[in-house]
């Protein structure tokens, strides 16, 4: 068989297996969420309507929610509704869960993306510097700072930032978002949450870029490039950096779950609106449809980003794909 044919069929098989796993994960999440809601202790009507609910009201509620149907019918209805893009209705305000999530989603996405941007913009140069100055004092300092940033939970970093910049120095406004939509004010309010969320990733990326740069710098093709008399700058930035960036891309995918979890806590520390705040409030109010919808959307987002990163990763470096296939075959 010609080499191109083999590649194509391998690519197709890899794509297919990744897609199947992704679908399985989303269905698994839906099943889990459904099971959880059937396990809610006590009578749902009494919990949700409060002690003053009359028996008729409770009966109508149970009927409206479809809770008097057998389990398999409810499961089927739940799956059908979710696949149709219907995540149910907020039991307190009566608004659709999809529209509530859509309203707060931009806040979380902006926070997450600015954190990723800041982490790459800071971590990448730090990693390159550490790799090109291996063994220097600065390299050791950076190594320690990176571990510290990775190890210390982001909500603790958020609290430290809050103490230093808002309480002791009084430099930045901290809590909430700007109501008027004034750009500068909103920008200032974004600084601390973004830094808190990005800190761990700065450490991750700096370490990873350093390690993969050092690995790549030992490769024969770099020696060849040097032997050709190319300047160190061109060798470092044009040849070494390009290959050293691939693992960074993978980490962005793997870390997204950590980042979403961190965003929940950071949003709460800084009293910002967003998915985390929504989920937190919904749990406090026992607003199950909102909890269910928010968790499901988060899982889907997470899985999709992972899939995208995985596919782009294997497009950049075909060896990954082949490794994945050979390990699948060996299994």
């Amino acid at each position: 068989m010609p080499a191109a044919r083999i590649m194509n069929s391998e690519t197709a098989r890899y794509l297919a297996s990744r897609l199947v796993t992704t679908v399985l994960i989303v269905f698994g999440a839906m099943l889990l969420l459904f099971t959880l809601t059937t396990l809610v202790p006590g009578d749902p009507a009494a919990t949700l309507l409060g002690p003053q609910a009359t028996p008729e009201l409770a009966r109508r509620f149970v009927h409206d929610m479809g809770l008097d149907q057998p389990l398999h019918v409810r499961l089927w209805r739940f799956f059908a509704a979710v696949l149709a893009g219907n995540l149910g209705v907020d039991i307190i305000s009566g608004r659709s869960v999809v529209s509530i999530i859509a309203a707060v989603m931009p806040y979380t996405l902006i926070l997450t993306f600015s954190a990723i941007g800041l982490a790459v913009a800071t971590g990448l140069p730090l990693g390159i510097y550490a790799a090109t100055h291996r063994g220097s004092v600065m390299d050791n300092v950076l190594a320690f700072v990176s571990v510290a940033f990775i190890a210390v939970p982001s909500f603790v970093i958020a609290i430290f930032l809050l103490l230093i910049f808002a309480i002791w120095l009084g430099w930045l406004p901290v809590l909430g978002t700007s109501r008027s939509g004034a750009f500068l004010d909103e920008f200032k309010r974004m600084i601390l949450p973004t830094v808190a969320l990005a800190a761990g990733w700065i450490g991750f990326i700096a370490r990873l870029v350093r390690a993969s740069m050092l690995e790549v710098m030992g490769e024969p093709y770099i020696r060849t490039a040097r032997a050709y008399g190319l300047s160190e700058r061109i060798v470092t930035y044009k040849y070494a950096l390009k290959n050293a960036c691939i693992p960074t891309l993978a980490i962005l995918g793997l870390g997204i779950g950590r980042l979403l979890g961190g965003a929940v806590l950071v949003e709460i520390v800084f009293a910002r609106p967003g998915i985390g705040r929504l989920l937190y409030d919904a749990i406090a109010e026992r607003n199950y449809p909102v909890v269910q919808g928010t968790v499901l959307v988060t899982v889907i987002l997470f899985v999709l980003v992972n899939l995208l990163v995985d596919l782009s990763y294997s497009a950049i470096d075909p060896r990954i794909r082949r490794e994945a296939i050979s390990s699948a075959k060996a299994a």
Binding site: V147, P153, V156, L260, V264, V299
Partner: protein, 282 residues
Amino acid sequence: MAFAVLAVLRRTCASLTGAMGFIVVALVAILAVFAPLIAMHDPDRLDVLNRFAAPSAEHWLGTDHLGRDLCSRLVHGARVAMGVAVTAIAIAMAVGTMLGILAAYITAQAERVVLIVFDVISSFPSLVLALAVVAVFGPSTLIVVVIVTVTLIPHFGRVARAQVLALRSAPFLEAERILGASGTRMVFSHIVPNILGPLLVLASMDIPVVITIEAGLSFLGLGVRPPLASWGTLIQDGYQFLSDSWIPVLVSSAALAVATLGFTLFGEALRDAVDPRLYREH
């Protein structure tokens, strides 16, 4: 055996960061085990007239919003953090290792199912999943332990499986098999002792992760229930009364930061001392 452990420990503490990590780990472990003997006050005793007291000889780190001794609460917090971490990791390690060994020995189809289940579990954003479970069952320490255990099982399962696959065709195992050793004997007398080292390193690296999840959930009021002193609930208490005093928030956040950093430094030094190549993929 004891000599080998000492040798690994000496290599772990050879670097400055490894030694720092070891000191923190030892300190937290001692605090956790001997908390009632070390704490100078009852961590739950209220003294409302004496709330937000400044640090003094009586109360080394001052008191919180209910006049409880902050230092004693931090000491007992070490006990909660270590209790949750050790319980969850021990169960996850036992279950994960068994599944991993099983996956390496069963049919290819069954193995694939186990691996997909591992993939599915590790593809969940665990904190968000934890929030969904807490929303239904209400917060409790037990829920925290269960969630952490489930998310950690694939960690141990994958490493155990990879180790067994590498070990399977080793001559001494072949010899045992030819001599007619039973499956149980093979697993418990030969395989488990040989793969235990890497699994223990993994366990030490998971401790700060578990401490972070427990503290995060407790900080949200969705983990350990008050009045039990967890570092997360201490930070939450302090955060709510930030306008009265910043000392409780500062000392409890600092305790959590030092502990997670110390355990991470120790875990990484231990990994490097045992074999750095083993974990590159994780």
